[in-house]
């Protein structure tokens, strides 16, 4: 926790400096904060991921449009951000995709800004907030009642299933709560499980986004067998037996633990 605290403090300092001066350069940050250049670059990457800044050659400038609409507390932020980055590489232009609820899916959506003529069907209410202003992306929301947790906001309930009829997508990007060799993919409650299954059935390919902390976990309700999905996007830290299992079952595992932009 000590390390975490230091990181937060540093990010706050950088934010303050940016608000004051509108721009910063890596060299000054290194000397002021007394950390390595690599660390500063990673901090800047992180702030850029949050939309707070735009990185420039040798530094960063304040993103004037930035406003924290929904300040959310996210666990394993870095890991999810990396998954989102890699997963976005699996989306082609002109596709129709489904995006599920949850924070990992949100991180994924943030990386889709540059896709051309992309249609997104989602019940994740934070997705239109991220992507609504981009004309190249067409977002269709499901119906349903609003369901909020401390880090997400999504649509659930009867109306959701009514709007998800007769839809056909190429890929569904879905999060899970647990990935376990014994029991398969799991969710924390039956409601979310039903939505997951419905969305998965509507798409030709199901792509599971799960950070490494989900592996070896068991949730409350089973979603599917491990070999019933098409691709996995996760982090390098995933245990070897999972990498082997999926490879042998013919399911590609995409991993990353470092943000490369």
């Amino acid at each position: 926790m000590f390390v975490e605290g230091k990181l937060d403090k540093r990010l706050e300092r950088i934010k303050e400096m940016l608000l004051q001066y509108k721009k910063v350069d890596v060299g000054s940050l290194v000397s002021i904060l007394d950390v390595s250049e690599a660390t500063i670059r990673r901090d800047l990457e992180r702030l850029e991921g949050e939309g707070f800044i735009r990185r420039t050659h040798g530094g960063a400038v304040l993103n004037e449009e930035y406003q924290e609409a929904f300040p959310i507390q996210m666990q394993n932020y870095d890991e999810k951000q990396m998954i989102g980055h890699i997963a976005s590489k699996l989306v082609d232009n002109n596709e129709v995709i489904i995006i599920g609820p949850g924070t990992t899916c949100l991180q994924f959506a943030k990386n889709l800004k540059d896709k051309k003529d992309l249609t997104i069907m989602t019940n994740n209410l934070l997705v239109p907030i991220e992507l609504g202003k981009y004309k190249n992306i067409n977002i269709i929301l499901t119906g349903g009642s609003v369901y909020s947790t401390e880090d997400s906001m999504s649509l659930v309930g009867n109306f959701l299933y009514k709007t998800l009829k007769d839809i056909y997508a190429t890929k569904a990007f879905l999060g899970v709560s647990g990935v376990d060799l014994g029991v398969g993919f799991t969710a924390i409650n039956p409601e979310l499980a039903l939505i997951w299954k419905t969305m998965s059935e509507l798409a030709k390919e199901t792509i599971v986004l799960a950070d490494y902390t989900k592996f070896g976990n068991r949730g409350f309700v089973k979603l599917a067998d491990l070999d019933s999905v098409h691709k996995i996007v996760t982090n390098d830290q995933v245990p070897a037996e999972y990498k082997q299992f999926f490879f042998e079952k013919g399911i590609p595992v995409y991993t990353n633990n470092e943000l490369v932009i």
Binding site: K89, L90, E241, K243, F246, P252, Y254
Partner: protein, 497 residues
């Protein structure tokens, strides 16, 4: 007399639970050339090594001229008249042709004194050379002969040892067309003498030229045996390649940019002839071909290990002079060699290894800053999950997967742009393979390009944006998109046109 020189029945060979050969039955008649073809790892060499006594069978029977025999050691096989000639030359270069031929089987003057009857030996050898129409001086030193002639000397040696069955395992892999033709002429003489020949080769056109009977092995099983007249190259390739491709590879499609490396009409005087290729930014270019096709020579030419006799290397559209690995490194080329030990100092720990090709970046005024070196390495170990972040272990005690990651980290640190990876996943366990494929993605996402040289066709198909099939030192075919299939690769890699 029994019809078959050798008959093998229900031969199996297992390593632990893994079957290298299962239930193979194969036979050969006097004066017959029987070719055995199949992919890498199909079991061809294992089968031949067992027949020659170099490896022991797990189960099965052998019959020579109808009589059951035991073949458990090389000596037993030799006594039965079985001679094997492998891809590498097994002669003593500093001795003469005659000395090599009779080494280990000298003809004695009489049985009491250990004196060699040189005259009798040379008479016997000369008679054989006359029959084989092989014009060579017996007192010539072997090192002065070409590799084709050396192969022929090996055949002569086997025949002098009264072999009735010759096994030629990939003997033409490193020979020129002309040398191959000479060896073939010698095989034809052997046929006339009633000698049986098992001929193992990757090259279908050669097989077609010399064989009377052709057998196809796949995954340790004998799939088909054809007479030459009934042999069709296309169906043979289908038989060789087996199951459909399953896309289990985490391939990322990155935007492909401008050309970063071009080879123009490269000739290295040994393997490569008018070799051309073009590699673009963000691209994984697969390069495959059979053993001896020259696929690894491409890497060695680009990295300045083998000198280029003619042709040009262009980097970013400018001609680059690469005469040594140092030149290649200056041009931002990184090489992950087939033999990992070629790129790592095994007795060093990870920090010394990964900074080796970019010492300047961790030095102040020509003195290595050990603290900086360590922190850089720690950062890499963490980011690439190398050895669970433990950097104090000597590289030689790390697993193959971790060694491979150290090597890639080394080139990433020296900001290489072109990564030549020769058999990068060979010998790795599955999880490490998956990690390595994802590391390739990182290289690409960081703006690098990869020349992926591999004999694992699935890996080539799964990870490459484009595939070049090499045959006899040239690009036989470029495959793109839907045309990248195992059948197509096998077809062009075996000399199909």
């Amino acid at each position: 007399m029994e019809e078959f020189t050798l008959k093998v029945e229900n031969l199996s060979k297992s390593y632990g639970t893994q079957f290298a050969l299962s239930d193979v039955s194969i036979s050969i008649k006097p004066g017959e050339v029987h070719a055995v073809i199949g992919e890498n790892g199909a079991g061809k060499s294992t089968l031949m090594k067992i027949i020659a006594g170099l490896e022991r069978k797990t189960s099965g029977q052998f019959y020579m001229y109808g009589r059951q025999v035991a073949i458990d050691t090389p000596i037993q096989a030799q006594m039965l008249g079985i001679g094997i000639i492998l891809q590498d030359i097994k002669l003593v270069p500093s001795l003469s042709v005659q000395e090599n031929i009779f080494m280990g089987r000298w003809i004695r003057r009489n049985k009491w004194l250990p004196l060699i009857d040189v005259k009798k030996q040379s008479e016997k050898a000369k008679e054989l050379l006359r029959q084989l129409k092989f014009d060579i001086r017996l007192n010539e030193q072997v090192s002065r002969l070409g590799s084709g002639q050396q192969k022929m000397v090996e055949i002569v040696r086997a025949l002098c040892w009264d072999s009735r069955l010759l096994i030629l395992d990939e003997v033409t892999a490193c020979l020129t067309d002309r040398e191959t033709e000479n060896v073939f002429n010698m095989i034809r003489r052997c046929k006339e003498m009633g000698i049986s020949v098992f001929f193992i080769s990757h090259k279908i056109d050669e097989v077609f030229k010399i064989a009377d009977v052709i057998s196809i092995l796949r995954d340790g099983r004998l799939i088909h045996t054809f007479d030459k007249e009934n042999f069709n190259v296309k169906t043979a390739v289908m038989d060789m390649s087996g199951e459909d491709f399953i896309n289990r590879y985490p391939k990322i499609k990155q935007k492909i940019g401008k050309e970063i490396l071009r080879l123009h009409d490269i000739w290295d005087g040994v393997f490569l002839k008018d070799f051309n290729l073009s590699l673009r930014e963000g691209e994984i270019l697969g390069l495959t071909g059979m053993v001896g096709s020259g696929r690894s020579s491409v890497a060695k030419a680009i990295f300045g290990i083998n000198p280029i006799i003619s042709g040009k290397i262009l980097i970013n559209n400018k001609e680059a002079v690469i005469k040594s690995p140092a030149d290649a490194i200056n041009h931002k080329i990184g090489y992950i060699a087939e033999n990992r030990f070629d790129g790592l100092v095994l007795n060093f720990r990870m920090p010394e290894n990964i900074t080796l090709s970019t010492l300047k970046s961790v030095s102040n005024h020509s003195i290595i800053n050990k603290h900086l070196e360590k922190s850089v390495t720690q950062d890499y170990a963490k980011r690439f999950m190398i050895n669970n972040g433990n950097i104090s272990q000597k590289v030689k005690t790390m697993s193959g997967g971790n060694q491979q990651k150290v090597m890639i980290a080394k080139w990433l640190l020296s900001s290489s742009k072109v990564f030549i990876m020769d058999e990068p996943t060979k010998g790795l366990d599955i999880a490490s393979k998956v990690e390595l494929y994802n590391l390739m993605n990182k290289v690409i996402l960081k703006g690098g390009s990869i020349l992926l040289i591999s004999s694992d066709l699935n890996e080539i198909i799964g990870m490459s944006d484009r595939v070049l099939v090499v045959y006899k030192g040239r690009v036989a075919k470029e495959l793109t998109n839907k045309d990248i299939s195992e059948t197509n690769i096998m077809y062009y890699a075996s000399g199909g046109t």
